[in-house]
Structure formats: C-alpha cells, structure tokens
C-alpha cells in the first residue's frame, strides 16, 4: 500500500484537476493533437461530421455543375440562408428547453405582413414598422408562454393552434391586396438583396474571432494557472486561433472575388454568436440547458422555470418575426405566401441536422448556422440542375439523408465509446 501519495498533491501533477491517475491527459501540443485524433476515433466530434457531410454535398454538386462553387452562387446561398437561419436560431431556443414551435412560419408571415401594411400602406417609417413587426412576434411568444405555463398546454398543440391563427391573421392583414411590394431601392430591401460588406470590413471582421480566441484563451489560461487548474498551452491557443483565422479569411477572400459577404449574413452570424454566448456563458443559458435536461431538477435548484420557458418562447417568436422581416426584405414583398410552405419544417430541420436535440438540453446556436447551410446547399445545388419535380424531391430527400448519415454514424460511435 504505497500509492496513497497519488491523492495528496503528488509532485508530478500538482494541478487540482489532474490528480486522478485514471485519466490520460495531454500536456504538449503533440499530446493535444493525439487527444484530438483519439476523440475522432471515439466519435466525439461536435460539429465535424456535419461539416464533412457538407463538404461531400458541395463536392458532388460542384462536379455536377461547376457554377455551384462560383463565389456569386455562394453569396446567393448566404443571402438565402440568412432569413430561415434566423428563424431556425429561435427554434434552437425552443428545442433547448425540450419544447417545439410549429408556428414560426406563420409568425414570420404575420411579421412580414405587419411590415408591409404599416410601412407601405400606412406610411409609417420603415424602422418603426420593423419594430412593430418584431414586437408582435415577442407578444405572440408571450402568449404561447402563458398557454404553456398557466394551462399546461403542450407546446406542440399551442403552436399548432397558433400556426392556423396567425396564418389567418396574415391573410386578414394583407386583406384585399394580397401582396404588397416593398420599395426597391429602400435601405431595407437593399439590405435584403444587395448590400455586401466592403472587402476591407469583411477581412477585418473575419480576423476578429481569431483575436478573441487568442485574448480570452490567454486570459483564461493565466487565471486557471493562478487557480491551480490545468490550462491550455500557448501553442494550443495559437494553433486554434490561427486555424480559425485562416479558414475565416479564406472564405471571405473567396466570397470577395464575387459580390462579397452579405451584410445580412453578417447579421445572422452575429446573432448566432450572440446566442451562443448567451447559451454557454450566462446564467440564463445555463438555466435553459438545465430546464431542457431535467425540468424538475432545475426547479429544485431554485430556477424560475416558468420564466425560462417564457424567455424561450419569446426568443423564438421574436426571432421568427425578425426572420420574417428579413425574408420580406429579401423578396421585396410582403405576400400572403410568406412563411408558408416548408419554412417551418426547414427551420426545425436545420436545428436538428445541426445537432440540437429534439428532446431538450443538448445543442448549440451553431447548429442553426450549419443546418441551414446544409439545407440551402441542397436546395441551391438542385436549382442548378435541370430536373423534373419528382426527381428534385427524391434527390433532396436522398441528399439530406446522406448529409445526416455521417453525423449519425459519428454519434453512434460516440455512444459505443460511452460518451453520449
């Protein structure tokens, strides 16, 4: 019995979190890489599988039609992704707490109708009209939250009722005109259709994430060292920052060969980052995960569960309304058909494909970004091929399945390695 020294700060591992001999740790950069490969082998890959699926899709489509990978087509893709992507970001909020919103399409439609009626028909300034539309979304979310919290109505049913109600409201608002043209040339429509970042701005913005990684990485490492915890090596931090910067700058440089990076996409990415921050770094986000993972445990921890649900509903409907406003700007029209069709399903599917669980407590804001790009890539790739509708549907279904199979297989391997 000579090994009890292992549990009183042993000289080889004085760090608070490195005292368990059963755990293999990585100290150097080489070790980190080895640990990373290990994680790949055991299937703990985060977003990687979806990205691999995406790369497969892109490769196939660009072989079928080289136009797919031209900068301008990708710019279009980013424009199209942004509107449903913003809606999908709201869905991520709902899925996080284990509930669902089936009415995001209708809510986005109502928002676009409000925008059109107020701005074009009633002559309210565009900014105010937008605000009103988004506020209406927030109100709808609040209403759902009341039904959910007070009456215990399942969100599936409450939002199904909402889907119909708000579709009706949208038709009612647009009334006799059917659809309203938003003025071409107005800042909002230009934002939705044309505005791209100047090359220099996009290059600077693309450098930001890397810088943030560097700064917070160093700061956290220093604080952890001071607290006696293990910390990332400088090498690791720099490697990550460089990798992120290189990828971001390459993407931006490529897009700048075409029209450039759409401001609308920039806005979408900004929202995604803000949401990711809120979910992972604030008490609110922690509470969202907790409520989604185990509602009763969260309640017993003193979390105001009702308020968390309310915030999720409001967040989702508000983002849906904002997405609707953006969609109207993109189409330069508030139409009766805005938000109908597959908007609901696409928004939900994007979140799920990106890896957010339908059952709550697991996911990230990035899933909306990745998921919508997968979906729009399929859709955009198919627009470049001359196909009959029947083939188009079948291929969409098939490609979707393939994109997800990669992720599913990775997740399976994770389970069999005891990491799920």
């Amino acid at each position: 019995m000579t090994d009890h020294s292992k549990f009183t700060a042993s000289p080889t591992s004085p760090l608070l979190d490195r005292r368990d001999e059963r755990v293999a740790h990585s100290a150097s950069l080489g070790d980190s890489i080895r640990a990373f490969l290990d994680r790949i082998r055991s299937g703990d890959l985060g977003m990687l599988p979806v990205i691999v699926g995406l790369i497969i899709i892109w490769t196939v489509f660009s072989i079928l039609n080289p136009v797919f990978l031209t900068p301008n087509n990708l710019v279009n893709l980013l424009f199209d992704s942004s509107t449903v992507g913003i809606i999908s970001l709201g869905i991520v909020c709902m899925l996080m707490v284990g509930e669902i919103d089936l009415s995001v399409g209708s809510v986005s439609g109502v928002a676009s109708a409000i925008l059109g009626v107020l701005w074009v028909n009633q002559g309210v300034p565009a900014g105010l009209a937008m605000l009103a539309a988004v506020a209406a979304g927030a109100l709808i979310g609040f209403l759902y939250a009341q039904l959910f919290n007070r009456f215990g109505m399942p969100s599936f049913v409450a939002t199904l009722a909402g889907l119909l109600t708000f579709l009706g409201l949208q038709l009612y608002l647009l009334g006799t005109t059917g659809s309203i043209n938003l003025p071409y040339g107005s800042p909002l429509v230009r934002f939705g259709q044309l505005l791209v970042m100047p090359a220099i701005v996009s290059v600077v913005l693309a450098a930001l994430p890397g810088l943030v990684i560097l700064y917070t990485g160093y700061r956290t490492a220093a604080r952890r060292r001071a607290a006696g915890l293990s910390s990332q090596t400088s090498g690791g931090i720099i490697a990550r920052a460089v990798a992120v910067t290189v990828v971001a700058e390459l993407i931006v440089a490529y897009l700048n060969q075409g029209r450039g990076v759409p401001w609308m996409f920039g806005l979408f990415v900004g929202l995604v980052l803000a949401m990711q921050y809120a979910l992972t770094r604030t008490r609110w986000g922690r509470s969202m995960f907790a409520v989604g993972g185990n509602r009763e445990a969260a309640r017993r921890a003193g979390i105001n569960v009702r308020m968390i649900y309310t915030s999720a509903f409001v967040c989702c409907s508000t983002l849906a309304a904002f997405g609707g406003v953006m969609a109207a700007a993109r189409l330069a029209s508030s139409s009766q058909q805005a938000g109908t069709g597959d908007v609901n399903l696409n928004a939900i599917a994007a979140a799920v494909i990106g890896g957010t669980s339908l059952f709550g407590g697991r996911g990230s804001a990035y899933s909306a970004l990745l998921g919508i790009i997968v979906i729009q890539s399929i859709s955009s790739g198919l627009t470049l091929l001359d196909l009959s509708s029947s083939l188009r549907y079948m291929i969409t279904g098939g490609v979707l399945a393939i994109a997800v199979i990669v992720d599913s297989l990775a997740r399976r391997s994770r389970v069999s390695h005891g990491r799920a």
Partner: protein, 328 residues
C-alpha cells in the same frame, strides 16, 4: 319554374392567389343577389386540399345546396363529386378548371392553357420587336406548383408558346406551392448559371414573377429582362407601372363569376343555358383573357375599371403612372 330561395354553393380551390375571395366570389354573389335575392350562397375554399374540397362538397349537399359551382382542386378527382351530386339531382357547374372525366352540367372559365400561351406569345413578340436575337440566349420558364392541375395547364400553354418561338428554354422549374421565395431562389441560381444569357422570364403567375424580378434585381441585373405574370394583382400592376414586370393577365373574374351565377340560375329553373362551345363533352362558355402590358395598361385596367388609379399610383408609382398616361 320560379326559384326564390334555393341554396347555391361556390367552392373554390385554394388561397394561392387572392382572386377567389377578392374577385370571383364577390362577382358571383353580386350577380346572385340580383337574380335571386332570396337565394343563399355558400362560399368555401379548400385550401389546395382535394379531400377537404370533398368534405366541403358533402357539407354543402347536407346544407341543401341545389347547384354547386365547383373550381376543383384536383380536376380528375372531382369526377366522383360530379357523379355524387348528379345522382342526387344536384347541378354542378365546373368553374375555371375543367373536369375532364365527368360530364358536368356546364363549364364556365377562362382557358388556363390559353393564358399560358398568351403570356408566352406576348413575351416572344416583345423580344422579337426589340430585336433580341435568339442566339443571344434564352428564356427561363417558371411554372406553378407541381401538384396543381391548373398549373399543369398553364405550363402546357407556355410550352405551346415557347417551343417553336425560336427562343430556347434555358431551364424550367415547377415552383413548390407557388411560393415566390422558391421562385426567387431558383431564379438566383439561374442568374449565376446563365448570366446575361437570360433574355426573358415566363412566370406562371404574378407571385412567382415577382420572385424572379427580386432575384434579378438582387443579382444586380440591369436592365431587368422582361418577366411575365398572370392574375393582375395590385402588386404586379404596380411593378408594370414601375417598369419591372413586363406583362400580366387581366382576368376580370367578376365577369366569369357572374356568368356562372347566370348559368346556375338557369339550371335551377330547369332551363338549358346556351353553350358557345363544348369542351370535354360539357357545354362550355370560355372567356378570352387579355394580356396587359405597359402599352395597353390604361385601356385595359383603368378604363375598364379593373383597378383604381389612385390605389395604384401611390407615391413611388406616381411617376410611372404619369409616363403611362394614367394620371396627369
């Protein structure tokens, strides 16, 4: 026999365009009120769902409808509805879309296939007039919903117009659910694909046409090549005024609806309405739609009181209205 208190149903297929609620039904109702003030009119819309239309059809029968004006969601499926009604002595008037497999009592319509052909012909004529060479490129064809029978007829008509026009069809697309955003997305892709080879776009209705225009504008294409439409919606008329859309189809649905009301009353009274032609074995009355372009805008729209100048010529469109001579 005199009819004073019959129930007549007016069953429309979808909400894809506002025309049914804004034009067809008001026109029908107005004429019915004139012909038979005591009659009851039931209006229902099936929301593009054939089974819902069947449900509505059964429902109006249980409500005692004696004549049903039916714009079928699914032309083929409607055959059984016709037989069901006729077996109970209820008159069925096919409206807008024909019912090929059953002999309805009458058919009143614009000819959807003719609509498709007219917009295509009008666009081709315009291109030829402007001296656009067929070698320069071709046109995009945006059809309606792949699951919509009326869209199929329009598609057929467009092909009739384009196939021998000399202009190639660069690419063709069935827009799911007639969604403008889908049309926009597809058109954006074609702009990157074909660039300035696109000399025109034939879109099957105003919504998809608007989507195509948005796509062309978003890609910075200037000037926007001519884009067609159909339905003469306010939004489309304004786009024509602004010079962004080339044409649309003016279907004064009120007239057709009024004709349907007349036929219904005649059938109820036991008279035989006069048929101008016979289509699918059914006595028919077909109206010829008019293509509206900037050239005949004032004559067809303003002068015929289809739309009011002051409704169309709001701020941004005022200048265009002056140019077209609509306002001074």
């Amino acid at each position: 026999a005199e009819v004073t208190d019959a129930t007549v149903a007016f069953l429309m297929p979808d909400q894809g365009s506002t025309r049914y609620e804004e034009h067809d039904f008001p026109g029908f109702k107005a004429e019915m009120d004139k012909l038979c003030p005591g009659c009851k009119v039931i209006y229902l819309n099936a929301g593009a769902d054939a089974s819902r239309q069947q449900q509505q059809f059964n429902s109006v029968i249980s409500q005692g409808a004696k004549a049903i004006v039916l714009d079928p969601v699914d032309s083929a499926a409607a055959a059984s509805l016709v037989e069901l009604a006729q077996s109970q002595g209820i008159k069925v008037i096919a409206y807008d879309r024909p019912i090929p497999d059953a002999k309805a009592d009458f058919y009143v319509s614009f000819d959807n296939q003719a609509i498709g052909k007219s917009i295509a012909d009008s666009l081709v004529a315009h291109l030829k007039a402007k001296g656009v060479s067929p070698d320069k490129g071709g046109v995009l064809q945006i059809n309606g919903s792949p699951t919509d029978a009326a869209a199929g007829l329009i598609k057929k008509g467009i092909h009739e117009g384009l196939d021998n026009s000399g202009y190639k069809i660069l690419a063709e697309y069935d827009t799911p659910d007639w969604l403008p955003s889908k049309a926009q997305e597809w058109a954006s892709g074609q702009v990157t694909r074909f660039g300035d080879k696109i000399v025109g776009v034939v879109a099957a209705n105003d919504g998809t046409g608007g989507g195509a225009i948005a796509a062309l504008k978003a890609a910075g294409v200037d000037p926007v090549p001519p884009v067609t439409g159909n339905d003469a919606t306010t939004a489309a008329l304004q786009l024509i005024i602004a010079g962004d859309q080339y044409n649309t189809i003016n279907k004064p649905s009120e007239i057709v609806a009024a004709a349907a009301a007349n036929v219904a009353m005649q059938l109820l009274k036991g008279e035989t309405p006069e048929a101008k032609t016979t289509l699918y074995n059914t006595p028919s009355q077909l109206f010829v739609p008019v293509v509206v372009t900037a050239d005949n805008f004032k004559a067809e729209i303003i002068d015929k009181n289809i739309a009011k100048a002051d409704a169309l010529c709001v701020d941004r469109y005022a200048e265009g209205c002056k140019a077209l001579g609509i306002t001074q």
